[in-house]
């Protein structure tokens, strides 16, 4: 496979990797460009763009709402791709699309993967794509279009399953921080730390990022101690929703995490 920005990132940077999630089309249809630029400028390492969906079963109230708003704003995959086509050349940061399976299969999986490569998407997270089906039907496509695929694991995932996922993942593993849907939480509990350590000790080939419930400097630092970094979603959506000046407040938020 050709080199890819996600791979390069993990090769050049071992820890404290910060990935920022936002929903395409939120708060307004045409905010995509400004938000992405601001995330890169503020020094985050990965951008994860959520494709809005009517029925996001793995998401808590914050991201449910950003999905609804984005859909009401008229966001579609077609529009997202055209936005990305315009601005991708201006950014260096790795970009991952995160989306539920149905909008993608309606677009057409091959067409989708092709378009992803064209507009400079580096990786995909499709939470409701079963691994078995990925291996049988889609793995070849992902490879053809140089897309890294990330699977999730949770505290309930068995060691055997984690090994299987490690074998079939080729960007990083997304460690869901607790038995939970997405949403900003307060503290990282001792049980969570035990789980981070248990997985950390497995000697997996893939780097790990911890996501779901990571919301501020404290939870980011704790997560980054037990993995290569972490993903912030709902807390960032909260910033976007309240922001009067998007760029400035994105900058302040991300700097506060990295400080």
């Amino acid at each position: 496979m050709a080199m890819n920005r996600i791979e390069e990132l993990f090769k050049n940077k071992e820890g404290n990797i910060l990935s920022i999630y936002f929903t395409a089309g939120f708060p307004s249809l045409n905010d995509t460009m400004g938000i992405m630029e601001a995330i890169e400028e503020a020094g985050a390492d990965i951008i994860e763009i959520g494709i809005p969906y009517s029925d996001p079963v793995a998401d808590g109230p914050t991201i449910q709402e950003s999905n609804t708003v984005a859909l009401n704003n008229g966001m579609t995959l077609k529009i997202l791709f055209s936005q990305l086509a315009e601005l991708r050349g201006k950014l260096k940061i790795p970009v991952i699309l995160m989306g539920y399976l149905n909008p993608i299969v309606q677009y057409g999986m091959e067409e989708f993967c092709k378009k992803c490569e064209e507009v400079g998407v580096d990786g995909l997270i499709v939470p409701d794509l079963p691994m078995k089906q990925y291996l049988e039907s889609y793995k070849g496509l992902f490879e053809t279009y140089n897309l890294r695929n990330t699977f999730l694991i949770s505290p309930q995932t068995s060691p055997d399953r984690i090994r299987e996922i490690d074998r079939e993942t080729d960007g990083f593993i997304y460690m869901v921080s607790s038995a939970s849907i997405t949403g900003a939480k307060k503290d990282v509990t001792p049980e969570q730390i035990a789980y981070f350590e248990r997985v950390g000790d497995m000697g997996l080939k893939n780097p790990r990022l911890i996501g779901f419930g990571i919301s501020d400097k404290a939870s980011f630092s704790t997560a980054a101690k037990h993995a290569q970094g972490a993903i912030i979603g709902s807390a960032f959506i909260n910033v976007l929703r309240e922001a009067k000046e998007l760029k400035k407040e994105i900058n302040t938020f991300i700097k506060s995490i990295k400080a």
């Binding site: 029925d55 709402e65 149905n102 299969v105 409701d128 794509l129 079963p130 949770s154």
Partner: protein
């Protein structure tokens, strides 16, 4: 042949499209349900509760005046006489026994009209299990008596406030809460929908309906199969139960009746096979009402139990393979059929079931045919809708 493959597919439809967080829950169920259901002690407990608690077997009633009116011999399978008023309890009794044997301490469920929620709250009370039911905020407003029935039975009813605030969103919310409580909680899905193994498991619990029809028809007619079986389809559990033992008996016509709402082309309909395309919702690949961009479309039906944008994968397969005949009945025609049965037979049907009755007006049949209509529920819960409609 209607057979499920090892990955949970009926033909092209089914499977388990779930986030990894649910994978252990679904695996646990998949690994255990067949073995548990096959055990003698499970069968004994299930059969005895169906008999003494639910009130089975439900009668197969020869509806003479209805038969005369339509010029054909019609039997009604009286699921409306089940405890709590609909077939839904066949499934909840089965799943609660299963949940106990999986050492689960809590039950969650989704509900639309509230029938499945009531049936779940009922068996939870019976077994002393904690019960939380998710219900769209809009449905809670529309179906107040059922909300209170659940509360009287000791369940907590939680409004689903996302999306359109109806059944689809209640199902999303129940799945989310299962992600949040993966170890001690069992999710009792109310129809033949959801990720494998739910569709097949629920169909097997409901298959008691056609098992009884066979025995009862043999006694009454000297043959164990009718010419036609008719059932309404929301998710499709009462239909799956009524069809189950006839899937492979090609002589038996299987007629599935969907809700056309205000008309199939009106934009306010729930006729999934006519309006849907293959897609993925609630963990399975099935026919789904959706936009070009793959966003799920809000259905409409006067009956909350049929107000769902998908159908169970087994029905998608029955449709695609041609084994099933699919009809759609509009709100108005269902109401007329409900009043007709009330006047001809002294039975006020659930509006869901009235859709199945109304299919008699569209169906081609021979005078010599024997038709079984699955009367999935009684109309008590729908009195307010009947009154509002007012045309009686």
């Amino acid at each position: 042949m209607i057979k499920i493959d090892e990955n949970g597919f009926y033909g092209d439809f089914g499977g388990a499209y779930i986030p990894e967080m649910l994978y252990p829950n679904i695996e646990e169920l998949k690994e255990n349900y067949e073995q548990i259901m096959a055990s003698e002690s499970f069968k004994t407990e299930f059969d005895s509760l169906l008999k003494d608690y639910v009130g089975r077997p439900t009668p197969l009633f020869h509806a003479q005046r209805l038969s005369e009116k339509y010029g054909v011999k019609i039997y009604l399978k009286r699921e409306d006489l089940c405890h709590t008023g609909a077939h839904k309890i066949n499934n909840t009794v089965g799943q609660i026994i299963l949940a106990k044997r999986l050492n689960k301490k809590r039950i969650i469920a989704e509900t639309g009209a509230g029938q499945h929620g009531v049936a779940t709250a009922t068996v939870c009370a019976l077994m002393g299990m904690e019960c939380t039911v998710y219900m769209g905020a809009v449905d809670m407003e529309r179906q107040k008596p059922n909300v209170e029935r659940m509360r009287i039975l000791g369940a907590t009813v939680v409004p689903a406030n996302s999306g359109s605030k109806t059944l689809k969103d209640a199902t999303n919310e129940a799945m989310r809460q299962w992600i949040n409580n993966p170890v001690d909680t069992h999710y009792i899905i109310g129809s033949v929908v959801g990720p494998h193994p739910y569709p097949e498991m629920v169909a097997r619990f409901q298959s008691v309906i056609s098992a009884e029809i066979k025995a009862q028809l043999l006694e009454k007619e000297g043959r164990d199969s009718p010419d036609i079986v008719i059932a309404c389809v929301g998710g499709g559990s009462n239909a799956a139960g009524a069809f189950y033992h006839y899937y492979n008996d090609e002589k038996v016509r299987l007629v599935a009746v969907e809700a056309a709402g205000l008309g199939v082309t009106s934009g306010k309909s729930a006729a999934t096979t006519q309006l849907g395309k293959p897609g993925i919702l609630h963990g399975s690949k099935t026919l789904l009402m959706q936009t070009e961009d793959g966003q799920v479309v809000e259905p409409h039906s006067i009956s909350a139990g049929l107000d769902y944008p998908g159908i169970g994968p087994v029905h998608a397969h029955l449709f695609a393979s041609g084994r099933g005949e699919f009809l759609a009945v509009e709100d108005e025609d269902a109401m007329i059929a409900g009043i007709e049965l009330s006047r001809l037979e002294g039975i006020i049907p659930a509006i869901e079931s009235a859709h199945a009755l109304s299919a008699l007006n569209q169906l081609k049949y021979k005078a010599s045919d024997i038709i079984v209509i699955n009367l999935s529920g009684r109309g008590d819960k729908d009195l307010e809708t009947y009154i509002k409609w007012g045309n009686y």
